[in-house]
Amino acid sequence: MADVIRTATRDAYGKALVELGAIDPNVLVLDADLAAATKTGMFKKAYPDRFIDCGIAEGNMIGVAAGLAASGYTVFCSSFAMFAAGRAFEQIRNSLGYTHLNVKIGATHAGVSVGEDGASHQCCEDIGLMRTIPGMTIVNPADDVEARLAVLAAAKTQGPVYLRFGRLAVPRVFDENYRFEIGKGVYLNEGVDVTIIATGLLVERAVAAVELLKARGISAALINMATIKPLDREIVLDAAKKTGCIVTAEEHNIIGGLGSAVAEAVAETLPVPVLRVGVEDAFGRSGPALELLDLYGLNAEHISDAAVRAVAMKNSL
């Protein structure tokens, strides 16, 4: 595995913005004094006249983005997930959601994999917050390939889009043939006993979990669910029908995120056991990202154990 390419999705975001800037002169990028960390600094370097630093004032940045979008621009604005979805939630809800303006929120540093900065900067609540806003699209890419495609697709989508990126370099999952579409889940593996539905950096860990399960005699299907909203209910229903139990995996609070979205869809269509792997209603803490992912149970072993429990639940019904 020495030749595996590792890239943080925030890096792919910065590169994709530069690519987009060359195609579309109507794109403006805003940041709140974090351009070096969110990687919008790449766009700033390439197109300084189309980059606007709003300073450490996230609420105002969202409002400025609204005014620019209402004047015809396609606006990307960035901060850490905590300060975008968290601090500026109400500005996003009223100035972007209610207006349905064409603003894309590039939120980086999502989840506990922020690492040493600790809980104040580790947002595991953003998907839950954004999901409750009518008309909001939420995309949580798994690797650099998908992150790039998500940025390009978001630019073509009218209305607000929340793009969720990570700080940690993660292994590439997809090759150049990968086709991405907002609102569509994708089977990465077929299986008969259980379906794992994963998003973001948990996708690569779910791929490893499928192998662990094989060794334990369980055939697991795997779905990559990059778009959390609108949720691909068809593929969720398909998984419930085919395997009769589901495990979700995400770097987010198990309350309000992908697990909740999948459980809601399953409960309303074909109720089967749904077990959620994620941060179990806790705050993060300081430490190396990889250690934290293990500490919070966001790894292949934990997903695999949950899958075994889900199969047992299904069989006991």
Partner: protein, 280 residues
């Protein structure tokens, strides 16, 4: 300002006030006090100053207006209706379930509304975004925003003010409806943002204090704002909450309460008398 123009703007201001009373009376709710206090400014902006066209409400080079104190929607709706953006008769549907005239302005429902507002502090940020867009397009249009004085207690106002001055957004003019009353009482009783002119000046604004019911002073302030380069302008308007309805003037309880039958009649009679005197 010549007398005939001033006469015409005063008449339009009375009509806006009549629209405020009519719509909030029919709605049995709404915010007449802080709507009446900005009627003269809206008359000046919508019937004299702004480059707008009711036939093309989304025209790219139109001047923008953001009612950051969105609860004064009855005043904005009355100005837009009288200016021809939609039928005056529709003002009677304010706040009704099947109406497009929401309690606070929605840009996607109402012709002539440039930004949805209502959550205090957010409108000025959007106005700053418009001004930034104008600057990028060679000062294509001017941007006007109206804030309440109580609204200045929101931190986002000052984030926006800092940004507007730092980016030298000279097409932006911010009006503060300084009627000195907010929901829970006077500014002083609640959490005073005074001294307001000094704060805007310290944030880098050209700052002008006027009587917000004097059309000559409104004109002087706006002309000065248009001449000002490299900095935004703040016009602090000393106003009377509930202006021109005797029992509402300077009464905090008319911030968010609608007139009942008898009160409605008194208000309309008073405004009719003002209108007749102006037309005589």
């Amino acid at each position: 300002m010549d007398q005939s123009k001033k006469q015409r703007l005063k008449i339009e201001a009375v009509k806006i006030r009549q629209g405020i009373i009519e719509s909030t009376y029919r709605a049995k709710s709404g915010h007449p006090g802080g709507s009446l206090s900005i009627a003269d400014l809206l008359s000046y902006l919508y019937f004299h100053e702004m480059k707008i066209d009711p036939a093309e409400p989304k025209k790219a080079d139109r001047d923008r207006f953001v009612l950051s104190k969105g609860h004064a929607a009855p005043a904005l709706y009355a100005a837009l209706a009288n200016r021809g953006f939609f039928p005056v008769e529709d003002l009677k549907t304010l706040r009704k379930t099947d109406s497009y005239l929401q309690g606070h302005p929605n840009m996607n429902y109402v012709p002539g509304v440039d930004m949805s507002t209502g959550s205090l502090g957010q409108g000025i940020s959007a106005a700053v975004g418009f001004a930034l867009a104008s600057k990028r397009q060679g000062d294509l249009f001017r941007v006007y925003a109206v804030l309440g004085d109580g609204e200045l207690e929101e931190g986002e106002v000052w984030e926006a003010a800092m940004f507007a001055a730092a980016k030298k957004l000279d097409t932006l003019t911010v009006f503060v409806d300084n009627n000195n009353l907010q929901i829970d009482g006077s500014l002083e009783e609640v959490n005073s943002p005074e001294p307001i002119p000094e704060k805007f000046a310290a944030f880098g604004f050209r700052t002008i204090v006027i009587d917000g019911h004097d059309f000559d002073q409104i004109e002087v302030a706006i002309e000065e704002a248009k001449r000002t380069k490299d900095q935004p302008t703040a016009v602090i308007m000393k106003t009377v909450k509930g202006k021109d309805v005797s029992y509402m003037e300077n009464q905090v309880n008319w911030h968010g309460a609608a007139p009942k039958d008898e009160q409605y009649q008194i208000a309309m009679n008073e405004l009719d008398a003002i209108l007749k005197a102006l037309e005589a």
